[in-house]
Amino acid sequence: MFGLPLNTFLGVTLIPITIMLALTIWALRFKE
């Protein structure tokens, strides 16, 4: 993908997406 090896492409896209999902879960479970 974009000239990148598959594992690099997955690494640089999936890791941030996972972190963002985790932060979304944090927000949804946040008690005000």
Binding site: G3, P5, N7, T8, V12, M20, L23, E32
Partner: protein, 508 residues
């Protein structure tokens, strides 16, 4: 780029705007908490951009592109870890400290440490001295980017560039304190975000697109497309330091070290509402990630264009640091170059100002008010704060004009010292009830001493396969745990009051 009238006019307008913001902010300063924590009334986006801008170091814009230029994809981790540090700083440290600070009116992080460890003098004084030393070191490291940008884009001598940049920041910080720091962070943050979103696609397009860029990187060194360079000590090439082992230590250094840096974590004290902590981690992470991915890829683009011989970097020792500016000059029409000079300057100034304020407030609040002169009035504290900021700004600037070797080394060790001194007392203080005053004190001190020791060995004696700070961080954690277990626990009443325990959200 020469000294055309437009260039000068744009830069003067920008500096005037900063000073105007500083002046407007000064009208809101009535008390010490107004000056240091913006009266605790920053709204959501100002708060988010303040956190982002203090996490981004002065060199982060030029430096990220430069590192990308030199190493390729293995250092993309930096662009995930620094945003993660922003997010961690908010939810891991900020949420709890904010809740306690609402009840106790904290002004600095040392206020938290002093309450949590039931210590009025030793912890507060030691931590303040470390904050002042580390922030001063870190501050003098920020000026490089000012002089690169101003010197190259405006053909301005190094010394004048530094003087002008440092004086402007100093003026708006002493005028408006955290209000000025936060409002200018919003103003400059928007400039950076919009600027990068506009310019990066042009740079990448000019270089022939992402696929072409990556093909060129692979021709230079196939490892440049990997997520890490091969594990080897010493590394397979001078630029191939980002090996898996090194990256693990780098992750801890950036993820935790930066998140707990006093000039970053203290921003959490100035949010207006507790509910901001709900979405702020995601907002800070997402914005920072997108902007800095684009900057990093611009660095790859510059490398690819140099390979294609369509771009030449200036013939200087740190040529890679010029890759972002050079790529902008190539991709964009000349009349908007000064706008992009402002983007780079904004990235520098937003960190510089937080550091200045942190040095000023650690001295005026934690040492002057809490140690030397407990009956000082708010006006006196604010004035002491301003004087310390002037001394720190001018002192570090003079040191930065011709940095002695010792200073260059200290700048390099700065963030490592932060990791080794602040993470353990704050993290364990918040989440482990058994952490004691003595544990925190000795953990901090042993972290400081071993950071200086390991830093010295790593720089001058022998290179480690990991970042040196991970070793001193381990020392500080071990000392904190062992000493804590051997000493008398902090009373439960204080632990309950400071919401200490293995939880983030309020226990119901």
């Amino acid at each position: 780029m020469g000294n055309s009238i437009i260039n000068i006019a744009v830069i003067i307008a920008y500096f005037l705007a900063l000073l105007l913001i500083g002046y407007a902010a000064s009208r809101k300063i009535k008390s010490t908490s107004d000056f240091i924590v913006g009266g605790r009334e920053l709204n959501f986006w100002v708060f988010v951009l303040l956190i982002i801008s203090s996490c981004a170091s002065g060199m982060s814009l030029l430096g990220s592109a430069g590192l990308g230029y030199k190493t390729g994809w293995p250092t993309i981790w930096e662009q995930m870890l620094v945003p993660l540090a922003c997010a961690l700083s908010i939810f891991l440290f900020g949420t709890k400290i904010y809740r306690v600070s609402q009840k106790k009116n904290f002004v600095t992080i040392q206020d938290y440490l002093s309450l949590r460890y039931n210590s009025t003098k030793s912890i507060r004084t030691l931590s303040s001295i470390i904050v002042i030393i580390v922030s001063t070191i870190y501050l003098s490291g920020q000026y490089t980017a000012i002089s690169i940008t101003m010197g190259w884009l405006f053909k301005m001598p190094h010394e004048y560039a530094l003087l002008l940049g440092a004086v402007i920041v100093m003026l708006y910080v002493i005028l408006g304190g955290l209000y000025a720091v936060a409002w200018t962070a919003l103003f400059q943050g928007i400039i950076i975000i919009v600027g990068v979103l506009v310019v990066a696609p042009f740079i990448i397009g000019n270089a022939g697109g992402l696929t072409h860029i990556n093909e060129n990187l692979a021709k230079i060194d196939p490892n440049m497309l990997a997520l890490a360079f091969p594990q080897a000590h010493p590394p397979v090439a001078p630029y191939a330091f980002a090996t898996p082992l090194y990256l693990v230590s780098f992750a801890i250094l950036l993820g935790l070290g930066l998140a707990s840096a006093p000039h970053v974590v203290s921003n959490s004290l100035s949010a207006k509402k507790y509910k901001y902590f709900k979405w702020a981690p995601l907002a800070a992470f997402g914005i920072y990630l997108v902007v800095f991915y684009l900057i990093k890829i611009s660095g790859y683009a510059a490398r690819s264009m140099v390979y294609d011989k369509t771009l030449t970097l200036p013939n200087v020792a740190n040529a890679a640091d010029y890759s972002f500016i050079a790529a902008i000059q190539m991709a964009m029409p000349e009349f908007i170059w000064p706008v992009f000079a402002i983007i780079v300057l904004s990235a520098v100034l937003t960190t510089t100002d937080s550091l200045m304020l942190r040095i000023g407030s650690s001295f005026s609040w934690d040492i002057y008010k809490n140690f030397l002169k407990p009956d000082a009035t708010d006006k006196q504290i604010n004035n002491v704060n301003r004087i310390v900021i002037v001394v720190a700004a001018l002192g570090t600037m003079i040191a930065a004009i011709k940095p002695p070797e010792l200073l260059a080394w200290l700048i390099w060790t700065g963030i490592g010292i932060m990791l080794s001194t602040f993470v353990a007392p704050i993290l364990f203080g918040l989440y482990w009830r058994r952490t004691t005053k003595e544990g925190a004190f000795w953990g901090m001190l042993s972290g400081l001493i071993s950071a200086l020791g390991f830093g010295y060995i790593a720089k001058f004696v022998t290179k480690f396969p990991v970042d040196f700070s991970i070793l001193s961080f381990t020392v500080s954690v071990v000392v904190l745990i062992v000493v804590s277990l051997c000493t008398k626990p902090v009373p439960d009443s204080i632990l309950d009051e400071t919401e200490t325990g293995f939880y983030i959200n309020k226990r119901s």
